[in-house]
């Protein structure tokens, strides 16, 4: 049956397949040779070939374009050789014909054997207590140590992601962990209670402690050879984990060897502070046996809290129920029923008082009642269950998972109003304020969220939600529609991609920047370019274009490449307003003559230098002002000459008469002189 399905998949793939993809000019990905056995829940696997070593057995996973892959983990994991993980050979964006666009591709070493557990309901050959340490625990611990030393987490440790690396079925290794956001592919059973409460896309990278918990769950699966909670759905598993603890839920009545009990109790401890760490595992591996950790369950209330037709006996369970029924949860809290229950049934007067204060502030505050009530409930849920994710109106996210959630929402073009609201109302700060112990990572994240709020407050290009998106996801490719399907992750890839986009552009009036590109630049530039970004939104087109030229020129100068002829042609075609901002016709002609030469050279730096000559600009402005003054002076003189005709006639008459008089007198003098001379001689 499965074979028939595989054959169907292969036939379908062969139909839709196009030419093979080529990654970094070295790896050929055969789009007509899918490998359904190696598919992950959100990535398809295909045969990959290494041109340098054709005998090497590889496969490639094609990531979904609408989910942000873990590029930082890819960078750290490339080439790492560890017995517990399948080697990541190469990664990168590649033109993928079946999708008709560039897709992130990850090339892995191909396991010789099969997947240990095909799905969560299947059964497989169990690994007994004598083999489990050597075949599973040791390589997995070594892998987690390797990852920890590189500052990353796996977050995909599960029995369905475990492969036999050899034909003999001896070596087991963990498969892909980078093609989707951290923990996204994980079934709830493999996640801690807190992580399980979060939306899958917003689980966050977490810490190695989360990996150790998943390892604990996987060990139970391996020892039993099946899923012990296969009969339960996710909601039931979470509920049971909260009520009975993870160990109790997963082990139940199964009989385990003592050594394994100790290991599993340590790894499945629901309190992250008490959960075993790498040192404890090392001690266990070296043969030192400790008394098993006894899980401390939350105090059960004397009477249940009635909510939504059910009764809840502990705070965590109640908080989870309230988070799921947001609107229904607000009235009982505002009415003080929760405070009373905490005081009388749970006998936690301190927490009851804090909640009473929060409710009172919400009721007496001057802000919008609905907003105040939402924030109040969010705070109350955090107080009821501090380790739980940030829960706000149905959206549950670990603080470090907020970025991937936002990326997914934007990529899927879904409604992002709730996420915007969370940032603007500083909801994450409520979560950070409730932390009892200081963690540098938390204060860093809190600072980042404050910055995001400031970015959202600015509506110009380079800010807003797009800026938050790129600030939260360091490895998210630029989502600009101008770049088409190009995969631009780093700033140095932006200008070449725009150059390629310039060659195929149809709209000649389109400026080579949009909100995504501007925000991408702002988030990825190492220096603070916010002032330059503000210039992009200048209402005067010539000033906005100069700001853009300035940015692109700096990037070309710093990151290359030296020649971008298509992009310079694009920018040059838009530079007419800047040329026209010069008053002098001679200067304009000079610029019009010079621009095409620079465009051919492909240098944005030279275009910028040509158009942003401050000295020439000042000279132009001063000379223009002088020319205007000259023109006006001439105009006024002409007007004066034309309007003073009466005065001019009067003047002409006066001068004429005076001239005649002078001539008369002169003639008299001359005659007298002649007469005198004639008489004297």
């Amino acid at each position: 049956m499965a074979e028939a399905e595989d054959a169907r998949t292969e036939t379908q793939a062969a139909k839709t397949a196009g030419p093979p993809g080529v990654l970094r000019d070295r790896f050929t990905i055969r789009s007509n040779q899918p490998l359904p056995d190696l598919f992950t829940p959100n990535a398809e696997a295909y045969v990959a070939e290494d041109k340098r070593d054709p005998n090497r057995s590889l496969y490639a996973l094609i990531c979904r374009p609408d989910l942000p892959p873990r590029v930082t983990v890819m960078r750290a994991l490339k080439g790492v050789l560890s017995p517990g993980i399948v080697q990541l050979v190469e990664w990168g964006a590649m033109n993928w014909a079946p999708a008709g666009r560039q897709c992130m591709t990850v090339v892995y070493e191909r396991p010789a054997g099969k997947r240990l557990m095909a799905n969560l309901r299947s059964e497989f050959r169990r690994i007994d207590e004598y083999d489990i340490q050597r075949r599973v625990v040791e390589p997995m611990v070594s892998a987690i140590k390797e990852l920890t030393s590189r500052g990353i987490t796996h977050r995909a440790i599960r029995a369905t992601n475990l492969f036999y690396m050899d034909g003999a079925g001896e070596r087991l290794a963990l498969g892909d962990c980078v093609s989707t956001p951290a923990g996204f592919d994980q079934p709830l059973v493999f996640e801690t209670i807190e992580s399980g409460m979060a939306n899958p896309v917003a689980r966050g990278s977490g810490t190695y402690s989360d990996d150790l918990y998943s390892l604990g769950v996987m060990l139970i699966f391996l020892f039993l050879g099946r899923n012990p909670v296969a009969h339960l759905d996710d909601e039931a598993i979470l509920k049971q984990k909260i009520q009975q603890g993870s160990y109790g839920t997963l082990v139940g009545d199964e009989r385990l060897p003592l050594a394994l009990i100790e290991l599993l109790r340590g790894l499945l401890c629901d309190d992250p502070d008490q959960r075993w760490d790498i040192e404890s595992l090392d001690l266990w591996l070296s043969g030192r046996r400790l008394s098993p950790l006894q899980s401390r369950m939350e105090k059960r209330a004397a009477r249940g809290f009635p909510f939504n037709g059910k009764e809840y006996f502990n705070c965590r369970e109640l908080a989870q129920a309230m988070a799921k029924n947001w609107e229904a949860a607000i009235p009982p809290v505002l009415e003080g029923k929760l405070e009373l229950w905490l005081r009388r049934a749970v006998e936690d007067k301190e927490r009851a008082q804090v909640i009473a204060d929060v409710v009172r502030m919400a009721l007496t505050g001057t802000t919008d009642k609905k907003v105040a009530a939402d924030l109040m409930l969010c705070k109350v849920l955090i107080l009821l269950d501090p380790p739980a994710p940030i829960r706000y109106k149905g959206f549950n996210a670990m603080p470090d998972g907020f970025g991937s959630a936002l990326a997914a929402v934007v990529a899927q073009k879904a409604d992002n109003r709730l996420l915007v609201e969370i940032i603007l109302r500083a909801v994450p700060s409520l979560w950070f304020e409730a932390r009892k112990a200081y963690l540098p990572d938390n204060s860093l994240m809190e600072g980042n969220f404050k910055e995001l709020k400031a970015y959202l407050g600015q509506t110009g290009m380079g800010f807003g939600l797009e800026r938050c998106l790129y600030e939260l996801n360091d490895a998210l490719p630029c989502q600009s529609s101008l770049l088409g399907e190009d995969y631009v992750v780093e700033l140095k890839e932006l200008l070449p991609a725009l150059n390629a986009a310039a060659a195929r552009r149809s709209d000649t009036k389109q400026v080579p920047v949009d909100r995504h590109i501007a925000a991408f630049m702002g988030a990825r530039a190492r220096s603070d370019i916010d002032r330059n970004l503000q210039g992009l939104s200048d209402p005067e087109p010539s000033k906005a274009l100069m700001a853009l030229l300035n940015l692109y020129a700096v990037f070309q100068y710093r990151l290359g490449p030296e020649s971008l002829p298509n992009l310079t042609a694009w920018l040059g075609a838009l530079a007419q307003p800047i040329v026209n901002s010069f008053h002098s016709r001679d200067r304009r002609k000079e610029l019009d003559k010079e621009l095409p030469k620079i465009i051919r050279r492909g240098s944005i730096v030279e275009i910028y230098n040509l158009l942003d000559n401050a000295e020439a600009k000042d000279k132009d402005v001063n000379e223009f002002a002088w020319a205007q003054a000259q023109y006006q002076a001439a105009e006024e003189e002409i007007k004066r000459v034309k309007t003073d005709s009466e005065e001019r006639a009067d003047e002409a008459e006066r001068v004429g008469k005076q001239t005649a008089a002078m001539i008369g007198i002169l003639i008299a003098f001359v005659t007298t002189t002649f007469v005198v001379i004639s008489k004297v001689w």
Binding site: H583, S584, R585, D586, F624, A625, A627, Q628, A629, Q630, Y631, Q632, A634, E635, E637, I638, V641, K642, R648, A649, E651, A652, E653, R654, V655, G656, K657, Q658, T659, A660, A661, I663, G664, I665, L666, I667, A668, V670, T671, T672, V675, V676, K679
Partner: protein, 165 residues
């Protein structure tokens, strides 16, 4: 204080006016007395000048308006026509009979009055000529200014004609 000052100034002006007026009157009287004393000795000259200079007196008396220059133009030419006969009188027989004799000569009157007529002609044609000249130079100036403006527009575009902000 101001009233005092004003009255002082007014007094000074009045005094100066009185002094000036008195001075002019005195001079006029002195000149007239000298001329009156000379009349018995130069009566022939006076007679000749009076009768030949009638066009000048006429020009002086007939011209109206602010710019009274006709008597100078007509007078100049009138005098130029008379001066040869005046010298003949002075260097010949300087008597009243000789003066009257000259006046009875049509040639003397023709010269004197003909020259005056030429003076009138000159006085009439000079202002239009000057006006034409002035108009010509003004037109040239306007053309030169318009040409300069055109050059500015060619160099800086139409916006140069807008008043600078």
């Amino acid at each position: 204080m101001a009233a005092k000052k004003k009255s002082a100034v007014a007094q000074a002006q009045a005094a100066a006016k009185a002094k000036k007026g008195g001075g002019v009157g005195m001079n006029k009287a002195a000149v007239l007395m000298i001329l009156a004393a000379l009349v018995p000795f130069s009566l022939p000259t006076v007679i000749l000048l009076f009768f030949t200079g009638l066009p000048t007196l006429g020009a002086w008396a007939s011209e109206k308006g602010r710019h009274k220059y006709a008597w100078l133009c007509v007078g100049g030419l009138n005098f130029a026509g008379v001066i040869p006969y005046l010298f003949t009188l002075w260097f010949g027989v300087h008597t009243v009979d000789e003066a009257l004799n000259m006046l009875s000569d049509a040639g003397v009157l023709l010269w004197a009055y003909g020259a005056s007529g030429f003076g009138w002609l000159l006085y009439m044609i000079t202002p239009p000529m000057v006006a034409s000249w002035l108009s010509f130079t003004t037109d040239r100036r306007v053309a030169s200014l318009k040409s300069a403006q055109k050059k500015l527009v060619e160099e800086w575009g139409e916006e140069v004609s807008r008043k600078g902000g």
